[in-house]
């Protein structure tokens, strides 16, 4: 008797342990959303309170904009639901909300790479493209909101990679122009490293830890060498001589210490800190570094340039966020109006001025008074207009994991770059076949 009771309790303890783990995964695959057929244009009906769901607002500007809306629309109030700061948990919570068909989330702030996945699952509604000023926006940015030719998300902010470099050292070494190509950059480094004050400095770093940043940096290297990861039709096309030239640049740079070996552990912040501590001459990073570095020891000793490439200026990956409308939400008419308001040029100007968010609107980059506040804007515009979106595929999570695996193997010398690209092509073909 006793032993069987004993076992029962042991069981339930273990069950409780594993059971709760299971519940987390066990969201059942029930029936779908009543099959909205071929995503026929949704009629946006219903007015009333809605929610805006985004990552934690560290600048405090989002609430200000929402307050502006709420003041003008007292009957259609928007509540701001703040999610954690990291993109993965934001995505997870939005997916959970969609899987349970909850109407708690109305307007979603989505990462530019999620559009295909969310649209294919019909978690978000197709939007009327003619009601948004897409023509005034930068085209690569608009593309990130599209899936199969339809608009599913409206650009709210953008982001592009920039090359940060030490003006003081380059000047001392007699280099007047920032490098336009990788070869020039390496040559400039060699000159700078001859200076006594640059004795222990490394040349260049980006983000090479095994995470999303690696996918971004790899995509930039490939695109900057004239290659592509997926072609216009979304088919993988990475086993090419151009792509190999791009990956080889990174592999070779690690080998000859142009990139310091610890950069294999760098995320954005590690690279920024190394650059600010005077360990790097060149750094690939996002514009947010600018204002932070201005407050550091290298204040006034650095500047930005567009990313270099193989034979000329390189191509950045696109960052930024879009607004999408949850399929399961209520009051969609209000939601559409709010999306128009939130992505308007006026709001974008406010976000640029107060939170230094890169706007999707082309003409804001040419505004002289804003350029004075943010001297990097012309370079950023060039970066974004030449940018290539990361692969727009439904299984983005698996695609980026496959890219990270193979590229990391190549960078750490476990595979030749040719082999890594060949394997990557096979992996991606499997993932996009279906």
């Amino acid at each position: 008797m006793k032993t069987s009771t004993a076992r029962a309790i042991q069981c339930s303890a273990a069950l409780a342990a594993a059971g709760l783990l299971l519940t987390a995964c066990g969201s059942s695959g029930g029936s779908g959303s009543g099959q909205s057929a071929q995503a026929a244009p949704v009629s946006f009906k219903g007015r009333g309170p809605i929610t805006y769901v985004a990552g934690k607002d560290t600048t405090g500007t989002v609430q200000t904009i929402i307050n502006r809306w709420n003041k003008a629309h007292p009957k259609e109030k928007v509540t701001f639901i703040q999610l954690p700061t990291d993109a993965d948990s934001q995505r997870q919570q939005m997916i959970q909300n969609a899987e349970t068909k909850s109407d708690a989330y109305t307007v979603l702030a989505t990462d530019v790479v999620w559009t295909s996945e969310f649209a294919a699952h019909q978690w978000i509604e197709p939007l009327p493209a003619n009601q948004f000023p897409l023509g005034k926006m930068l085209q690569p940015v608009v593309q990130t909101g599209q899936y199969r030719g339809k608009l599913y998300a409206v650009p709210a902010s953008s982001n592009g990679g920039l090359l940060f470099y030490r003006t003081d050292l380059l000047k001392k070494a007699g280099v007047t122009q920032p490098p336009g190509t990788w070869a020039q950059m390496t040559a400039d480094c060699a000159k700078v490293q001859k200076l006594p004050e640059a004795k222990n400095m490394s040349c260049y770093a980006g983000q090479f830890q095994k995470y999303e940043g690696l996918t971004v940096n790899f995509a930039e290297a490939v695109n900057s060498a004239g290659g592509q990861i997926t072609d216009a039709g979304g088919k993988p096309d990475v086993d090419t001589p151009q792509a190999k030239k791009g990956l080889d640049f990174l592999v070779r740079s690690f080998k000859d210490k142009t990139i310091p070996k610890e950069a294999i552990t760098y995320q954005e912040e590690d690279g920024r800190q190394a650059f600010q501590a005077g360990k790097l001459i060149f750094l690939r990073n996002w514009p947010y570094v600018y204002s932070l570095a201005q407050k550091s020891a290298i204040k006034g000793k650095f500047a930005v340039a567009p990313l270099p490439g193989l034979n000329g200026p390189g191509a950045s990956s696109l960052g930024g966020s879009n607004l999408a409308l949850s399929s399961f939400a209520k009051n969609k008419a209000t939601a559409l109006d709010f999306m128009k308001f939130f992505t308007s040029e006026e709001s974008a100007t406010y976000f640029l001025k107060n939170a230094s968010l890169a706007p999707p609107y082309a003409d804001l980059y040419d505004n002289a008074s804003l350029d004075k506040q943010y001297p990097y804007l012309p370079d950023l515009k060039q970066s974004i207009t030449k940018a290539v979106p990361r692969p727009r595929v439904v299984q983005y999570g698996d695609v980026t994991a496959a890219i990270q695996n193979e590229v990391y193997a190549a960078l750490t010398g476990k595979k030749s770059s040719a082999q890594a690209l060949k394997d990557l092509q096979t992996d991606l073909q499997k993932l996009t076949a279906q």
Partner: protein, 354 residues
């Protein structure tokens, strides 16, 4: 759970008390004739009524999710319709395919995660046991400043795992204090064997105090007289440790080691935060299941979680059977621990999945 078989000596009292609670009922006249049968039935019913809320709650929070997960693990991922570009609404039934896949296509990643999980469990729990017992012996000693030593040993255990993951990430940074002390640059957070070591170090640092704490509790109930007698008989300190301390502290130690094993088998947050997702060298079964779920493949995710559950269950069973961990023993004192045993891992898992 409560024994329904009532010890014979309690039987005669039961009907009286049962009847007394029901007003309007005359004391049973036939009581002298058939006391035992009625008594047992009445108490049994009462026991069943008293226990049923617990059973109901357990069914809802334990059995239902487990069965749901088992059911979910029989379904595959939703397919993409190439014509419309939309994912189908229903998940296809695939039977045991998610399970058999671990021997074919998904095998490499699953077995890698399985061996990582096993490696972490064996290595961290062994080290923690050694260090934890040593800590307990130190904390048990009477000396000046003992309170400070005890408190400082417990600090790592008091820090949430996610926070200590960040803390160690900082220590193991390329320019972090670990490399400064070593005088040599080890890239701890890159994918590789050093990442495994980093996880082991951080985990041992965090949880050795837990074993220390439980063993200390065990040490404190050993009567001093036993040692005095041993000393009089001329036993050396080492002999005292092997012959007296260790056997007497064994029940507490086994419970501590069992808890640690179950915890280590479910390890998720430490490698996830310290090293990162999708790093082959530290990916555990929990991380694998989470990763599958986050890529909207709930079927394989559930299958992995079920396999992990079975693994955890087998280890727990082996402990109880082979090592005789007296978790549910009859004594009143251990009963208290039992409820603890149910509560502690459950809370931990919620942390993990949160």
């Amino acid at each position: 759970m409560a024994d329904t078989a009532i010890p014979p000596d309690t039987a005669p009292y039961a009907p009286g008390s049962g009847a007394a609670r029901r007003p309007g009922r005359p004391p049973a006249p036939e009581r002298p004739r058939r006391p035992r049968v009625r008594a047992t039935a009445g108490t049994g019913r009462l026991a069943a009524i008293l226990v049923s809320p617990t059973l109901l709650v357990l069914t809802i929070v334990v059995l239902y999710p487990t069965l749901m997960a088992l059911d979910e693990s029989l379904y595959g991922p939703k397919g993409l319709d190439p014509k419309t570009g939309f994912i189908s609404n229903t998940e296809p039934f695939v039977g045991l395919k998610n399970y058999t896949d671990i021997f074919t296509q998904a095998g490499d990643r699953f077995w890698n995660a399985f061996w990582n999980t096993t490696f972490f469990t064996v290595v961290t729990v062994s080290l923690e046991t050694l260090i934890g017992v040593a800590m307990a012996l130190i904390m048990h000693r009477a000396f000046r400043g003992r309170a400070v030593v005890r408190a400082s040993i417990l600090v790592p255990w008091a820090i949430p795992t996610a926070i200590s993951g960040l803390l160690w990430k900082w220590i193991f940074n390329a320019d972090g204090i670990a490399n400064v002390l070593l005088g040599h640059q080890v890239l701890w957070t890159a994918d590789g064997f050093s990442a495994k070591i980093a996880v082991v170090i951080a985990d041992v640092w965090k949880t050795a105090p837990f074993i220390g704490l439980l063993v200390l509790a065990g040490l404190q109930v050993i009567p001093k007289e036993v040692y005095e007698a041993a000393r009089l008989d001329g036993a050396s300190a080492l002999q005292q440790f092997w012959r007296i301390t260790l056997p007497l502290v064994k029940p507490a130690l086994l419970v501590a080691v069992l808890f640690r094993c179950l915890d280590a088998l479910r390890m998720f947050d430490l490698p996830y935060i310290l090293i990162g997702a999708q790093k082959g060298s530290v990916e555990t079964l929990s991380m694998l299941a989470q990763n599958e779920a986050s890529n909207v493949r709930f079927g394989p995710a559930s299958a992995y979680a079920v396999l992990l559950f079975l693994y955890v269950f087998l280890i727990a069973l082996a402990f109880v059977r082979l090592l005789g961990a007296d978790l549910i023993g009859g004594a009143g004192g251990t009963k208290k621990r039992k409820s603890h045993a149910v509560g502690v891992p459950r809370r931990r898992v919620r942390e993990v999945t949160a």
